[in-house]
Amino acid sequence: MNIDLSRRSFLKLAGAGAAATTIGALGFGAAEAATAAHVRAFKLTSMTETRNVCTYCSVACGILMYSKGDLAAGEKAELIHIEGDADHPTNRGTLCPKGAALKDFVKSETRATKPRHRAPGADTWQDISWEDAFDKIARAIKDDRDQNFIEKNAAGVTVNRWLTMGFLAASGGTNETGWLTYKAVRSLGVLGFDNQARV
């Protein structure tokens, strides 16, 4: 057997071989033999498998993501299927109705896919480039902070707080995102800072 065969064509060959021998052995009509062997092809063969953790609740089930294309190898990867990781001590491969449908979350039609801007009083979105969005944000932060930052309280104690800005961080995000967010937000002097711990 040619070892250069891709997994997919390899499977096809294997399947064809098996079917051919069996038809001969059974002696019933070719059509019926083809019929009887009609089990849907296993859809994960030749996919790239990536280990991940469910993004929903804090049980944090291990999941296996199957994609067309290998992201680690720099390819574009399209998610095809997600199921539980049977090696994971907590979930042992199981998933709840949310976890089992994680793919639908990743591929939701109402995902945000481009930066958008809504002007005051407008009733529609306008597309905006990342550059322009960041410039707008940075300008707003700088101006508001300079205007409303409290360096000292009435007693003259250095308090360095900024109360006219608030930031809600994502408990669905990673620690690493959280830490970077923490640094950036705290360094600005923000106190109106929270995550979903209460809700």
């Binding site: 294997a14 019929t35 089990v39 994960l44 042992r92 709840c96 089992a100």
Partner: protein
Amino acid sequence: MTSERAPEPVTAAANPPLQPLASNLLPSDVIRVSATSDVPAPERHLTEVAKLIDVSKCIGCKACQSACIEWNDTHPDIEENVGVYENPHDLTPDMFTLMRFTEYENPVTNEFEWLIRKDGCMHCADPGCLKACPAPGAIVQYSNGIVDFISDNCIGCGYCIAGCPFNIPRVSKTAHVSKKCTLCSDRVAVGQGPACAKACPTKAISFGTKEAMVELASERVEDLKSRGYDHAGLYDPQGVGGTHVMYVLHHADQPSLYAGLPDDPQISPVVRGWKGPAKTVGLAVAGLAAAGAVLHGIFARPNEVTAHEEGEAEDLVEDHDQRHGDREA
């Protein structure tokens, strides 16, 4: 061929293979085919597999439904709430399994019970759908117990619906083929368990050899009895030869409590009659009648009009003419 044959599955708690494995479900493993009487005896008999649904562990979370939709790439409709937890409201050609919820006030204990049962194909040893199906090869049964619908051969007549004692198959309005749980035959073929069984968070759904599942069930029944469910038991109805999807019920004496699970399911005598004697006798009678007619035609003298009779007719018509003339005169 050096391709490795996939093992037979023993559990749903396994991760899918990514290397190509040759299917372990071969054409020769088919032991019954719809509308086909001359299925050759299989060379080997696969170990019978079964899905055990322990309703006493089921929390009705619908993970099985979710996993089923995702694995089978179906697209059920987004319906509405009609005052119950069942969604979709029934099995559909795009929803092969459904949690059914029953609110039950136990008259013996005065306890309220929320009975939740995962409905879906039972993979009967004696499948009524297969018996009723008129399309050769549309329904097959493998020696491991899986009863599978082969859409390419399905004609969408819906006879399987009449044949099924559990009200499971649903015919697609668009594809016009009948659909139901395949027991994830594509997964089983590569040594995996069904998607629902793998997903089930509380292990209310287990999958393995039928023998192991029966054993597991007895363990569960014992536990349930220790909790006061004196009638706990396994639901593996013999009326259909046993099933490859079985239930552990707290009230095995009253299966119908669980959203109408049949107490004693069997292929309806009507269906048996229709698909058994009626089919043969009917065809025979029709054949005999046709043959009789042909034979009669060949051997009996045809009923022919004679020249004499033609003459008689002329006379008769003539006669009438005259009589009419007389009267008029």
